[in-house]
């Protein structure tokens, strides 16, 4: 029963997120709206972490698994990218590495800059 209620709470928030995402004019996906909703619920104490802990840990620990069908679906789209497969893969690899480096560098730089004068980070 405990787990059932946890599932219902999380799915209920996702349902609310879907509703809100349909109503707001900018294209923010339901899953991101749900994430913000759940965060606000925790922040304002409407929900406590133990209300959803087991369900949350199950989803977080197995997150990669839920992407398998999305990955398999590339098979369906393969015909459209077949002709440009090499530049396509190069762009996906190269820009991801570049974005990673630029983001990590920025975060490290800005936090060092903000912590200047402090003895330890």
């Amino acid at each position: 029963m405990k787990l059932l209620i946890q599932i219902a709470i999380v799915f209920g928030i996702c349902l609310l997120g879907e509703g809100i995402s349909m109503l707001i004019p900018i294209p923010v996906p339901a899953s991101v709206v749900s994430m913000v909703l759940l965060f606000l619920c925790l922040l304002f104490g409407w929900l406590r972490e133990e209300h959803i802990r087991d369900k949350a840990d199950f989803l977080l620990k197995n997150m990669a698994f839920f992407f398998i069908p999305a990955g398999v679906s590339i098979l369906e789209h393969f015909d459209t990218i077949k002709g440009i497969i090499l530049p396509f893969l190069f762009i996906c690899f190269f820009t991801t590495i570049l974005t990673f480096a630029a983001t990590a560098g920025t975060v490290a730089l800005v936090s060092r800059w903000m912590n200047r004068g402090e003895k330890y980070e």
């Binding site: 996702c14 922040l43 398998i68 990955g71 679906s73 440009i84 974005t99 990673f100 983001t103 975060v107």
Partner: protein, 230 residues
């Protein structure tokens, strides 16, 4: 016999069992070899694709169960809020660097994609399809559509980007000597959305939480920048 098999293949239980089994093999191989490049998700996707191709299973049959697995993506993204909430103090201390990282990262992603597409002389609609490749699928699809992209190319690019991010994240952290876990997390989330985040969670709690924030922050930045991209 053939009809019987087709019935079996189109049961949702088939796709779910096949996916779990493939993931278990990937997980086991990854543990056994200790090679981050042998990413469990990547192995699982390849195994499932092989089985589907060899047994001539139609995509519609696999999707009977595949859609049920995909349904969990939304709640899995939502509960990232729990891991963010667990790191609330760190987030409060680092809110400016986190936002700065997402802004710069999104700009670099969109800029480098545009430049490379020009360099390879790809069609305008391919450029529009690849432009939002670093953000989570629903956002990317929306942006691609608005700019006249091909949605299926966008979906493929988003997934490949995510796998690249998840696969390379540990190596990139070493290569660029990223010592700050906040920087590593934001970088993973900005470069490779929720799929990369699944790896960030495994690397550490701070990394996972910051990667989760970056999904939202980079997604929002990309939506805003795409409005100005024409």
């Amino acid at each position: 016999m053939n009809e019987f098999l087709q019935e079996i293949y189109s049961s949702p239980f088939f796709a779910i069992c096949l996916s779990v089994l493939a993931y278990a093999v990937g997980y086991w191989l990854n543990r056994k070899t200790g090679l981050p490049l042998l990413n469990p998700l990547l192995i699982a996707i390849i195994l499932v694709v092989l089985v589907i191709q060899i047994l001539h299973i139609p995509m519609e049959s696999y999707n009977q169960g595949g859609d049920i697995i995909s349904m969990f993506l939304a709640p899995a993204t939502a509960v990232l809020a729990v891991s963010i909430y667990r790191q609330l103090d760190i987030l409060k201390k680092n809110i400016v660097p986190v936002v700065a990282g997402a802004v710069v990262g999104s700009l670099v992603s969109m800029g480098s994609v545009t430049l490379l597409c020009r360099l390879f002389r790809l069609e305008e609609k391919i450029t529009a399809s690849l432009l939002p490749k670093s953000v989570t699928t629903p956002i990317a699809m929306g942006i691609s559509e608005q700019h006249g992209g091909i949605v299926s190319v966008t979906v493929a690019a988003v997934v490949v980007t995510g796998i690249v991010g998840a696969m390379l994240a540990p190596a990139l952290i070493k290569l660029f000597r990223v010592k700050n876990p906040v920087a590593a997390g934001v970088a993973i989330g900005t470069a490779s959305h929720a799929l990369g985040t699944s790896k960030a969670i495994e690397i550490g709690e701070i990394e996972g939480a910051m990667s989760g924030i970056a999904i939202g922050a980079a997604g929002l930045c990309t939506v805003i920048f795409a409005m100005f991209a024409g």
